[in-house]
Every structure is written in C-alpha cells, then in structure tokens.
C-alpha cells in the first residue's frame, strides 16, 4: 500500500487503483489519450502475478473481459471514444449476462476518428447504454486525479454488488494531467459470486452465464427483474457534489473537467455579487435527480456546461421537469471552455433573471 502521496497522471491513478481493488486481469488495445492505463498495467501486472494482455482489437478485449468476469474475477478494459464504440456489442452482452466489469472511457473529440483532445460527447452513449437492448451501466465521472482512483475502486464495488458494468467516464485532460494522489483506501472484501462458472467439483448444479433466452416470456421476465435492480441503483447510488447552491440564483450543472472550470467561474461570480452555485454530478447514471429537483425550487436559471453540443442538458431538463430555463454553455472538438466564458454565461443568465 502507498500511504504517502505520489504524483500521477489520471490514467495511471486508474490503473493503480484497479490493482489495489484486486483486479488482476486487464485486456486492452492502445488509443490516445488513455494508453497510460495499458502501459502501467503492462509494467505492473507481470510483477504481481496478474494478466496484462494487449488484444488484437477492442472487440477482442471486451470479450476477454466477459470471459474473466464469468469466472468471478475482477476485470477491466479501457479505451477512448472510437474504441468504446467498438466495444459496444460486448457491453450489451455483459449487461445481458448480468456480468460485473469496469470499463474506462477517456473521451476524445468525435464523431468518427475526431481528434485526440478531451471531450465529453460520449455522455449519451454511456448513460443510455451504447449497445443494443434495454440496459444501463453505472457511469462515474471523476473530476480530479484523486477521484480517478477513488471512483475506480467504487466502480468495482458497485459492479460486483449489482452485477453491472461500471464505466469511468473521464476525458483526455483528466487522463493526462498530473496531480498528487493518496492511496490510503480502505478496500472492502470482495463479495461472494455464487453464480460464477468456477467448476462444479461435482458438488453443485452447473452455473450458466449467457444472454440468449429461447422463450420470449423468460426473456421478458429477466428484463423486468433487471430493471427492478436498476431501480434499486437509482434509489441508492446517485451522487452529486453541491457547491454554494443553497441560496443560488444561477446554478451551473457540470461534470468532470467542465466542473473544474465552472467552479472558478462560480467563485468569480460570487466575488462580483452574483449568487452562483455548482451541481457536479459524480454519477451520470443514475443521474442525481433529487439535487436538481431541489435546485429548481429556487434557481432562476440552470446552465449546463459541457464539452459536447449539449447532452447532459437533457437529463437536467428531465430532472427539473422544465420548471426553470436550462441553457447550454459549451466548447467541442477538443476545446475546453475558459472560466471567463462560463462567467460571462452566468452574468448573462443573471441579467435575464429567469425569463
């Protein structure tokens, strides 16, 4: 255990945290800006009896994740936007077989090959599933290198608890930036996985991990049961950080790197006498609806600050039931809004006064 602080890139922090969470199986394929995760695993896994395997493609890697998860072990893969699109079939199969896994997306600009600079434009893909069929992933959005580590551990715990995929939805900047991290974590013992295909030893019935159901009635029942579990996740696991929201007239909704920029803008607004605040969703699915519902009771306007053309804004509108105006402040294509751009949006919203 590293109790003292170390200076790490966000991607490295994810890799180290995964190892500390007991993950001994990593499968991946290189892509900027997340390759440090694979590089770290390649260096460290062989030294601790773990498996690092550079697969022949992203699709192969996600299916290796399916295999290890079926055997009841903690397992992960990581990629960046175009690579996650390739993995989407596998993500659907993991959901259909109720297998826990951790998947990292250090987002880059899109669509298509796009660019290598940071983005948040895979929000829909992450929170709505990405692959086919009715399913969700638990989506966690770190905004610092320390949180990259914390949410990786949390991601494994939630995945095992609910038999779901946890996705760390990061971006190129948090993946690449260096900050001090403390690994002073209290790692909980892993939960039993009586469903895992570990061999019957002639002492129990066969466990079968599968997503194919021959009878429609049976497939319907499985879907209903799965959504009961999702409801439990929505009730228990939604998480957001609130900053100066209590008396705020103008509230920023922002996650990840956009939240860091927005916090500076909120401070600037407060220094100039504008009651501004920030809601930073830490879980994007489940979306922290209650916090937004409460904010809609007193805010004049909510500004969604995103590195996308406006994706989370839809969840903000749904959560607030359109009771207050919700506007968008964004940069895309690998660009990041400046604190001043966000501050100007706050000033403009404040002058409008909720009209």
């Amino acid at each position: 255990m590293m109790a003292e602080k170390v200076l790490m890139k966000g991607n490295e922090a994810i890799a180290e945290a995964a190892i500390q969470a007991g993950c001994r199986h990593y499968f991946g394929y290189p892509i900027t800006p997340q390759t440090e995760i694979a590089a770290y695993m390649a260096k460290k896994m062989p030294k601790i009896g773990g498996v690092f395997l550079q697969a022949e493609s992203e699709i192969a890697a996600i299916n290796m994740v399916y295999g290890v998860s079926s055997a009841g072990k903690r397992v992960m893969t990581s990629s960046s936007s175009p690579g996650i699109s390739l993995k989407s079939e596998g993500l659907s199969y993991l959901a259909g077989a109720d297998l826990p896994a951790l998947v990292v997306n250090a987002q880059r600009g899109g669509p298509g090959l796009g660019g290598i600079q940071p983005s948040q434009s895979d929000y829909f893909q992450a929170t709505r599933g990405g692959g086919h069929g009715d399913y969700h992933m638990i989506v966690l959005a770190p905004s610092s290198v320390q949180e990259m580590a914390e949410l990786t551990i949390r991601g494994f715990e939630l995945a095992d608890k609910y038999r779901m995929t946890s996705m760390i939805l990061a971006d190129g900047t948090i993946g690449q930036m260096m900050e001090p991290v403390s690994f002073d974590f209290d790692i909980k013992p892993q939960v039993e996985k009586p469903w895992a295909t570990t061999g019957t030893k002639m002492q129990r019935e066969h466990n079968i991990v599968n997503s194919l159901y021959l009878k429609a009635e049976q497939l319907e029942k499985i879907n209903f049961e799965r959504y009961e579990r999702y409801k439990e996740v929505q009730e228990n696991e939604a998480l957001a950080e609130e900053y100066l929201t209590e008396d705020a007239d103008i509230i920023i909704a922002a996650f990840g790197i956009a939240a860091r920029v927005s916090r500076n803008a909120v401070n600037e607004a407060r220094a100039n006498g504008i009651k501004a605040g920030l809601i930073r969703p830490i879980t994007l699915w489940p979306f922290p609806e209650k916090v937004f519902k409460k904010a809609a009771g007193h805010a004049k306007e909510i500004i969604s600050v995103e590195l996308s053309m406006g994706q989370m804004i839809e969840d903000v509108r749904l959560a607030t039931e359109c009771k207050v105006p919700v506007s968008l402040c964004c940069r895309v294509g690998g660009m990041i809004p400046t604190p001043d751009q966000v501050y100007q949006a706050i000033v403009a919203a404040n002058e409008k006064g909720g009209k």
């Binding site: 590293m2 602080k5 170390v6 200076l7 790490m8 890139k9 490295e12 180290e16 900027t32 800006p33 440090e36 590089a39 770290y40 260096k43 460290k44 600009g109 796009g114 660019g115 290598i116 600079q117 190129g172 900047t173 690449q176 930036m177 260096m178 900050e179 001090p180 790197i257 860091r260 920029v261 500076n264 690998g334 990041i336």
Partner: protein, 221 residues
C-alpha cells in the same frame, strides 16, 4: 549552469523533462544568443514544449518541433529540422528526449554524431514521487534502458522530485537522500535539484545547486 553545446534531457515518463527544458532554454539564451529547444518526444502527444512556444519565440529561441505536435495527428513524428542539433555548430540547444526507453529511441539516430563531437551533457531527470520510480533501484533500471535505447551515456542527474502544485520544501528536502543514492549507484554527479521558484527562498542554502523554475501553464486548474 555552464552549458555544453548540446544539453539533452531524458528520464522516466512524466519526470518533468519538458518543464526543465523550457526553463533551461531561457537560462541558456542569456549565455548564448543562438539558442534552440528541440522536442524529440515521439510518445506523448499531450503537454509538450510547444505549449510554451509563444514565450520561447518571443525571446528569440528557436523551436525544433514536429509540425504535428499538439495537433490531432497522433503519429510518432520527428521534427524535419532535427539534424540542425548536430550539424549547426553555432547553435546551442536543449533537447527534450521523450520519456522512458521508447521515447529515447529517436535519439539513437543522432547519438553517434553527438558523442563524436563530445560537447554535450545528457541529464537523467528523476522524481521520487512518481509511482514507478519510487526507489533508486527502479530509477537505475530506467536509466540503463534509456541509455541502451538512445545509445548515449548519461553525464549527470537532475533531481526534479515534486508533487505538482502541492509540493512543500520538506518534499524536496526528503528527496535528497534518494537523489544522492541514484548518483552513487550510477556514478553520475547530481548536477541540479529543481523546484518551483516560489519554494526557492525556503530552500536556498539548504540544498546545493538549486534550479528554480517557472512551471508551464496547465489547461485547467
């Protein structure tokens, strides 16, 4: 510092080579009017010397960088004018070699000519607070891998141990035993110990050969 004609910086990935390169370039420019910064990093497309282009060029420091650095073309491209480092004998340069042995691979193309001219320093930049080089033995492994890949022997050690913006004077002081042990194991002199310039007044006199630095701007605080 007294600079040789070519000053090369190698080290573990993320040890702080680029920050030191930019700061050294400013110092070198005060000693020699024809000064350049060369970026031979073929690994890392983020956070490069190019981020400081405006301030360097404003001082008349030549930039030798791949035309694709800081663009979306994620290719391991080298600067087309990299041979100026060895051929343009009037030019003094700071060369930012990429991280680890992979980053140093491109240096191998120039190392024969650099060694033959024999007017260079090749410094190994170390940071005790990086996760994969926490002890002198792990640094020695990286050091030998870089020398092999770059086909050039190091001539000194630069201790750049830091925890980013949170670095305290104690963090720097606590790294000295580590740096001295690397120096002993490698037989190379500890040439400089760097720190952010705001820490310099607190450390002056306590550590020999300090190198106060301005840090490159980050995209987000």
């Amino acid at each position: 510092m007294n600079y040789k004609r070519i000053t090369l910086l190698g080290g573990h990935y993320g040890s702080g080579k680029t920050n030191i390169a930019v700061n050294m370039a400013h110092e070198l420019k005060r000693q020699h009017s024809y000064t350049a910064v060369a970026d031979l990093d073929i690994v890392n497309p983020y956070f490069r010397t190019l981020d400081s282009r405006d301030e360097l060029e404003a001082e008349g420091i030549r930039m030798i960088v791949s035309q694709y650095a800081n663009t979306n073309l994620d290719a391991p491209a080298l600067p087309q004018d990299m041979y100026a480092i060895v051929h343009d004998k009037a030019m003094y340069s700071i060369v930012d070699v990429g991280g680890d042995d992979r980053g140093a691979l491109a240096l191998g193309r120039l190392s024969g000519m650099i060694a033959e001219e024999d007017n260079y320093d090749f410094f190994m930049v170390i940071n005790k607070y990086r996760p994969l080089t926490p002890d002198p033995q792990s640094v020695m492994e990286v050091l030998e891998e870089i020398e092999e890949a770059g086909r050039l022997k190091f001539t000194g050690i630069i201790n750049n141990s830091n925890l980013g913006a949170e670095t305290t004077p104690e963090d720097v002081l606590n790294s000295m035993a580590f740096a001295e042990e690397v120096s002993r194991l490698s037989g190379l002199p500890l040439v400089l110990t760097s720190c952010e310039e705001k820490l310099y007044p607190l450390l002056e006199g306590k550590i020999e050969n300090m190198f106060p630095m301005k840090l490159q701007k980050r995209p987000v605080e």
